[in-house]
């Protein structure tokens, strides 16, 4: 290649960089376009909500037909509700690695109980809990084979992975939290700092507010904005981390959080007047801390999965019946967080309603309807692409 060709190649490269610099903003997604139209011609909130609901129903019907929840979830390996706990005779012990949904804190209390109280050993399992946390996605480590079972924080990731054009075949086999713990967390200025707030937030409370969202969570604002007719310019979105500190120092008004975690961190710092907007109350709901296995494990070794789920459920039952003793165990096992027993107990208190759920199903059981609705919401807000439901 001569010098002029090289120079041309260099110019082409510079042109690419330059074109990137002058590129226009990408075309607004359909949801944004709808919102822009709403800004030009103000619509009543009810009308926006009705349009959004009609679209949702259409997508839901498509999901039920083309991507039914039964293709990626099952309750069939969960133990029977009235099953008595009986240790097995072990000829051999299966050693498995289980990816946890977060760093080892008190979130993983059911699994700590199952280890500490010998439930895993009773079903011939030797379990190593592998910590999760920022940047660690155990759904991917499960698909890649680094762990045998994964407990994933957001259940919605399961259909996302299964339906992705770059998919992995996994199956959700049980859930810890039956409702999404996701909230927007702020402080109630009308309540003294040392008192608990009883304020109920509505979407309109975010108009004019600064809301901090973790990377990749902007779609939750899209959901609220489109469903409840809030203009995009009315809310200032900011990038946020995982601690509630920006709210405490006034850098943000609200921050994306989990009801079971960050509120108690605020309480520790003396801010009892926290207030939460619960997404599960406003139409965005899904399962949390979902147990997932590879399909090959599910099909070739269902016995192992059943035994694991039995011990996990036993650990969860123990947590519900003995929160005090479970908190003592969690403080010891939660090595990634310096927790006190009181902090763990506060978490258990905040999460109990999410564990028990509002359906008639036994603990850990999931429903196809809930999964399908979650998937339909994700499609509606551009978080999941399904060719048949575009």
């Amino acid at each position: 290649m001569n010098r002029s060709t090289f120079t041309l190649a260099l110019i082409a490269l510079l042109a690419l960089m330059l074109s990137a610099c002058v590129a226009q903003a990408p075309a607004a997604p359909a949801a944004e376009e709808g919102q822009m139209a709403a800004e030009e011609e103000p619509m009543a909130e009810e009308a926006v909500e009705a349009g959004s609901e009609a679209e949702f129903e259409q997508i839901l019907a498509c999901v039920e037909e083309n991507f039914p929840a039964e293709s990626y979830f099952t309750n069939e390996l969960l133990p029977a509700v009235d099953a008595a706990w009986e240790p097995m005779e072990c000829d051999s012990v299966d050693s498995i690695k289980v990816g946890m949904p977060w760093v080892l804190n008190d979130e993983e209390a059911p699994w700590y109980n199952a280890i500490e109280l010998g439930y895993f050993a009773d079903v011939c399992l030797e379990v190593e809990l592998v910590a999760g946390g920022p940047g660690v996605d155990h759904l991917q480590t499960l698909a890649g084979g680094a762990v045998d079972i994964a407990v994933v924080a957001g259940g919605s990731t399961v259909p996302s992975l299964v339906a992705s054009p770059t998919p992995a075949d996994v199956v959700a086999v049980g859930t810890f939290l039956k409702h999404s713990p996701y909230i927007w967390l702020g402080l109630d200025p009308d309540t003294p700092q040392d008192q608990r707030s009883d304020k109920v937030l509505t979407p309109q409370d975010f108009v004019g507010a600064k809301v901090g969202l973790q990377p990749g969570n902007d779609y939750l604002f899209e959901f609220i904005a489109n469903k409840h007719g809030i203009a995009h310019d009315d809310v200032e979105l900011m990038a946020a981390g995982f601690t509630p500190d920006p709210v405490l120092v006034g850098a943000m008004d609200y921050i994306g959080a989990w009801i079971v975690n960050q509120p108690r961190l605020m309480e520790e710092q003396g801010f009892m007047n926290w207030v939460a907007f619960r997404f599960s109350d406003w139409g965005w709901d899904g399962y949390g801390d979902v147990t997932v296995v590879r399909r090959e494990t599910f099909e070739e070794n269902p016995d192992l999965v059943s035994r694991f789920l039995a011990a996990q459920t036993q650990g969860l039952n123990y947590l519900l019946e003995n929160p005090d003793a479970s908190a003592e165990i969690a403080v010891v096992y939660g090595v990634d967080a310096q927790l006190t027993k009181e902090q763990a107990l506060r978490r258990f208190e905040l999460q109990e309603a999410l564990v028990l759920g509002s359906d008639d199903l036994p603990i850990s059981h999931m429903s196809a309807d809930r999964w399908n609705m979650q998937v339909a919401s994700m499609i509606q807000y551009d978080q999941l692409e399904l060719e048949a439901c575009k």
Partner: protein, 249 residues
């Protein structure tokens, strides 16, 4: 081997190695999607990719300019105030090596979601190679030439512009080979940590949606930008020091 030929071989062979890797290892698409899938994304979503590339480039270049100003100012100060160098070097080493995540967390609380935290991360990634090289370059000036300039009663400004800076220039350009490419990667990492726009944010979005094809498309784009930055520095170097080649010929 001719450097240009080496680049051509790399560009041609990369997709072949990619396909062979998939064939041999049977890597699933969620780990390593086929190149045609990634190419499809780069074509069909080029507008989105270019928009976010612009964000990353602005962050990288802004941080890079600031890093240059800080590093050159410090290097020149070190030359005339040796005590300042002794005082500042431990600080620069610490600042260079402090984990970005810690700084990022603090900055996002103090500065909020503004370009500043990202620019500061880029500065942290890029200022040290420039500082180290320019400092060394300024001190590498020929002592005989310096003696002669002083004998001729030249001013400090003349000595700096005619002897010291020309001596430092090759070192300064060499620093860009590391720092300029580092500014692109620094910006991507900063966006990955706490941004809602830019190539780093696209990686987060792609990962959270399990779109390995999108993640790889962004990765290739970011790598291409870094290679482009490197080639640009090499081209500038060749232009500035063309007299060296001419002297040899």
């Amino acid at each position: 081997m001719n450097e240009r030929l080496a680049y051509i071989i790399m560009i041609v062979s990369a997709p072949i190695i990619w396909v062979l890797t998939i064939r041999i290892t049977e890597a699933p698409s969620f780990l390593l999607p086929p190149p045609n899938m990634v190419a499809d994304i780069m074509l069909s979503e080029h507008q989105d990719l270019l928009f976010h590339t612009r964000i990353t480039l602005v962050t990288a270049l802004s941080g890079y300019v600031v890093a240059n100003i800080i590093a050159i100012s410090l290097s020149v100060s070190f030359l005339y105030l040796p005590w300042l160098e002794a005082l500042a070097v431990p600080w620069t080493v610490v600042i260079k090596n402090v984990p970005f995540v810690t700084i990022a967390t603090i900055m996002i609380i103090i500065l909020g979601d503004t370009p500043m935290p990202k620019i500061i991360i880029v500065v942290l990634v890029t200022f040290f190679p420039i500082l180290a090289n320019v400092t060394k370059g300024l001190k590498s000036a020929d002592s005989v030439m310096l003696d002669r300039m002083q004998t001729l009663d030249s001013s400090q400004w003349e000595i700096f512009t005619k002897i010291r800076w020309p001596s430092a220039l090759p070192y300064y350009i060499a620093a860009h080979e590391i720092a300029f490419t580092g500014s692109i990667i620094g910006a991507v990492v900063a966006e990955w940590l706490f941004a809602r726009e830019g190539l780093g944010a696209l990686i987060v979005r792609g990962m959270s949606q399990y779109r390995a094809d999108r993640v790889w498309a962004v990765t290739i784009l970011a790598s291409a930008l870094a290679v482009g930055a490197y080639l640009l520095v090499k081209a500038v170097e060749k232009y500035l020091f063309r007299w060296q080649v001419e002297d040899l010929t």
